[in-house]
Each structure stands twice: as C-alpha cells, then as structure tokens.
C-alpha cells in the first residue's frame, strides 16, 4: 500500500513537472493564437513557441564581452527554480512525497530567487537597458511578493497551515471557503499579483520592444541562442505554474487527493484544461486592455495588496474562532 502510494506520488510529481515544461510553450502559443484570432489575424499556430525554442537551441551560444557568471547562470536558475516550484505546488495531486515541503513561504522565496537571478543577469551586462529593466523588475517584484504571500495567507487561515497541499485539500472538502469574502478577495488579489509577476498586460507588455515601456524584455535583451531559449522557456513556465496555482487555489475540483492512478490522470487532464481556459481568457482580456503607465503600476499593486490584506482581516475576524 505504502509502496504504491509512493510510486503514484513520484509519478504525480514527475508528470506535473513534465506537463508544465512541455505545456508552457504550448500555452504561450495558445494565448498568442487567441489574441491573433481576436485581432483578425491568422496567427502562427499553437506550436510556434516550440519551433522558436528549437531554432534558438540550435544556434551557437554567444555571451557579450565582459559578462560574468551572473549572466550565464541567470537563465539556468530561472528554469531550475520554476521547475522546483512546479514539483512542489499541488497542481495535480496533493498526495506526493514532496507535498510536506510545499510551504507557501518556500514557494514564494523560490519565485523571488528566479526573479532576482534574472535581474542580476540584466545588471551584469552593464548596458543601460539591462540596468533599467532590472530596476523596474525589482520595483514590481518588491510589491508583488508580499501580495502573493498575504493572499495565500488569507486562504491558509481556515486551513490552519501554510502548506499549499493542506490549503488545496481543505478547499476541496469544504467548498464554502472558496465563496466566502476572504476567498473571493484573495483570488482577486492573487490574480493581479500573477499578472504582475509574469509580466503580462496591464503591468508589462510581453510583445513590446519599445525601450520606454519594456520591463522584462529590457533585462533579457542581451541574451541569444540557447540562453535566450532558456529565458523564454523559464518565463513561459512561470506563467503556467502561477496560472496553475491560481486554478488550484480558486477552483481545486478534480485535484487528486488519493494515490489512485485514475484520479491522477483525470487531474492532469483537468489541470491542462483549467490552465488553457485561464490562459485563453487572459489573452482575450488583454486585447481590450492598455498597458498602465509605469508610475501607475504601484497604484494597481497597492490596490491588490489592500485586497489581500482585507482578505486576511476578513478571514480572521468575520468567520470568528
């Protein structure tokens, strides 16, 4: 019994990471395709990001003169931390060997580590754009991390634990929690934080290369070849993991809580469907949004921080002890 449980749990973790890594470029492709169709273009197809990655991986690795280890390690750290987060977060199953370590604070710290690694890489190039992008990225990150912490913390109060698996399985067994004011507020706050953390509209425009407005793109401007492929893959995986986390916390139905292989397969399929739906909805919404002015971004993030704080107070005081 224990043996099969561990085996299914290990399979769940492996499949989760594999699904995120393989599905992330497809998600990006899907979002671009939805956007293209809504704008009346034909679009390059869902698999275009994979073709881009393959093309970049075949190229020769070039690093700018004068860059140090921070520049070379940045993409690796980004992809590695995101893969660890994908393994920890209960995307498909809450009964995995690593679910005991799926602590909220650890997950946020890993995400921050990836952000900082990329910002250091941007600074390491010594160009004006790299430094500007890094400084903007850190401004946004400093406002986003507390919001994510607080938003999930609001959900963790009824569960009595900051373990993400415990929060998700609590949500499955007691769906009333999700529709309470605290649940709704923290979902809204988390959604804004995810948009900012992954550099989507209205915080950052992922398609722009206009120097005045770029945030994420300015940091990675000097990358080429396989390194650029890793950076692209890393940011696509981050988007997938964070959308998956949002789906797990706000709509946890279908996530396997036991060690049965059938439930695991169902959970993986549902995960793909949920993330694809969220991504398509986000892409459709982005057609109608404009990018915020950079100086208005702190306003948006302060608002989402306030929503998260209200969620914490509501879940602490309103429901009572």
């Amino acid at each position: 019994m224990n043996g099969t449980m561990t085996a299914t749990g290990t399979a769940a973790v492996t499949l989760q990471v594999a699904l995120v890594a393989a599905g992330a470029p497809l998600l990006a492709g899907l979002m671009r395709q939805v956007r293209a169709l809504l704008e009346g273009r034909v679009g390059p197809g869902v698999t275009q990001p994979w073709r881009d990655l393959r093309k970049l991986l075949r190229k020769e690795a070039v690093t700018p003169a004068g860059t140090g280890p921070a520049f070379r390690l940045g993409p690796l750290v980004l992809v590695a931390t995101t893969a660890v987060v994908a393994a920890l977060v209960p995307l498909a199953s809450t009964a995995t060997p690593v679910s005991g370590g799926a602590d909220l604070i650890l997950v946020v710290a890993l995400l921050a580590l990836g952000t900082v690694a990329l910002a250091l890489a941007g600074l390491d190039t010594g160009t004006a754009f790299g430094g500007m992008g890094a400084s903007r990225e850190m401004t946004v990150a400093a406002l986003v991390e507390p919001t994510i912490l607080l938003a999930v913390f609001a959900l963790s109060i009824p569960a009595g634990s900051t373990n993400l698996s415990a929060i998700v399985s609590g949500g499955i067994h007691d769906p009333v929690r999700l529709a309470s004011p605290a649940g709704l507020l923290s979902t809204a706050a988390l959604a804004v934080a995810v948009l900012a953390e992954t550099g989507r509209l209205p915080v950052d425009n992922p398609a722009t290369h206009l120097e005045l407005t770029m945030v994420h793109e300015a940091m990675v401007l000097e990358y080429a070849g396989p390194d650029l492929a890793l950076v692209e893959l890393g940011s696509q995986m981050r988007l997938t993991v964070l959308l998956g986390l949002l789906a797990s916390l706000s709509a946890p139905w279908g996530i396997a809580t036991t060690a049965s292989p059938a439930a695991l397969v169902l959970a993986l399929v549902l995960l793909a469907v949920k993330v694809a739906l969220l991504g398509a909805a986000l892409a459709a919404a982005e057609v109608f949004w404009a990018k915020l002015r950079l100086f208005r971004v702190p306003e948006l993030l302060a608002g989402s921080f306030l929503l998260a704080l209200l969620a914490v107070t509501a879940s602490y005081f309103l429901t009572g002890e």
Binding site: V176, A179, S180, P181, A182, L184, L185, P298, E299, A302, G303, F305, L306, L307, L309, L310, T313, A314, F317, L318, T319, G320
Partner: protein, 232 residues
C-alpha cells in the same frame, strides 16, 4: 434560511460593502466613483434585508427597501446630474491636459498611499471594535468592524479629495458606515430616526448640489482649494 447560509450571505454583503468603500479611493473618474457608491447602497440594503429576514421583522425589510431606493437610486442620480451639468461640451477635440471636472486629478494624498492608509484604517477599526465584539459575539456583531472601517475611510476620503463631488461621496460613505454600524450593532434604529436621517442626507446632497453649481458659476470649477475666505 439556515444559520450558516445567513452568516455566509451577511459576510458577503459586508465584504462587498467594505470593498466598495475601498474602490472609491482607488478610482479617479468621478462618474465611476458614483456608480461604486450606488453598489455600496445595494450592499447596505442587503445587510438590512438579511437582518430583517433573520429576525422576522417586516419593518426592517421596509427600511431596507427605502434605503435601497434612496442610496442606490436617488442619491447617485442626483450626483450624476450635478456632474453632467458642469461638463462643458468640447468644440475642438484636440490633445490637451485633462482639466475637466470629471476626474479627481490630484488628491492631496496619492492613490497608492491612500490605499495603504485604508488598509491601516481597517486594521485600526478591527482593533478598536475588539471589546465591542467580545461583549456579544454573533455573526452580525463580528462584522461590526466593517462599519467602523467604512466610517474611517469615508472620513479619509472627505479630507483628502479636492473635487466637491468626491467630498460629497466621502460624506455619504461616512453616513453609510454609521448606518451599517447601527444595523449590525442594534438591528437598526427606530423607524422615525431612520426616516429623519435619510431625509437629512437627501437634503444635504441637494444643498451640496446647489453649492457645486454656485461654485462652478463663481470659480469655473469645483476645486475646494479656491474656497479661501468666509463671507456672510
């Protein structure tokens, strides 16, 4: 209606009530602020109606209907009318700085800081009302801090906004907060007092509407900073 459903719905209504007050601080467009204020009126009426249903008091339901009509219907309409009356029609639509009356362009405290202040005020309200909640802990009294928080946020809006209409909304937020505190703490005040308060608020808004029109005639705008001297 079972107890748990009642608690859920009451919490939801109180959450929406508090959220509306916060969103008023977040927005700049005065017409959107008025719309959010109307939504808050709906949440307030819902709180009153839920309390009435829970305690089987028909009078409270009637009060809820009256509050809904006044605060989600009449007052927002009056304010929108005051707003549209002063919007000049642009004859030459070219690019220029937005100096029209429809936006709260420069609040005394910027939006990010006022949102953080709203967070602090909410925590303060929870801290202050702790002893009150411990006196008699029911779902309604546990939501009491929401009322106090809206009173504080309304007061904050009143002192930090420059446009007369935004200040009117701040005043009305204050009043909404007082009303919801009365409902949550004591299931509402006697009907005659409630009627008196409602007419008072209606009159205040009417007077302020006239005052805004006069201000616009005298100064060409409703920026409060222009009011420097007192005359009789």
């Amino acid at each position: 209606m079972t107890d748990s459903v009642y608690t859920q719905l009451l919490d939801l209504a109180c959450g929406a009530f508090l959220l509306a007050a916060v969103v008023v601080l977040w927005l700049r467009q005065l017409s959107s602020i008025v719309q959010v204020f109307a939504l808050q009126g709906v949440a307030l009426a819902a709180v009153a109606a839920l309390l009435g249903l829970h305690e089987d008091r028909l009078g409270l339901l009637a009060v809820a209907a009256g509050i809904g009509l006044l605060r989600a219907g009449a007052l927002p309409r009056l304010m929108l009318r005051a707003l549209t009356a002063g919007t000049p029609h642009r004859s030459h639509p070219h690019y220029e700085e937005d100096v029209s009356e429809s936006r709260e362009t420069r609040p005394l405290v910027n939006v990010a800081a006022s949102l953080l202040s709203a967070a602090l005020l909410t925590l303060l309200a929870y801290a202050v009302s702790r002893p009150l909640v411990e006196l008699h802990s029911t779902p309604a009294t546990r939501a009491l801090p929401v009322g106090l928080a809206v009173v504080l946020i309304g007061f904050f809006t009143l002192v930090t906004r420059r446009r007369a209409l935004a200040q009117v909304v701040g005043f009305l937020l204050l009043d909404n907060g007082i009303t919801v505190t009365a409902f949550l703490a004591a299931s509402g005040v006697p009907l005659i007092v409630e009627l008196g308060v409602s007419f008072d608020v209606l009159l205040a808004v009417l007077v302020l509407q006239i005052l805004t029109t006069r201000m616009r005639a005298a100064f060409g705008g409703t920026g409060i900073d222009d009011l420097r001297e007192l005359r009789d």
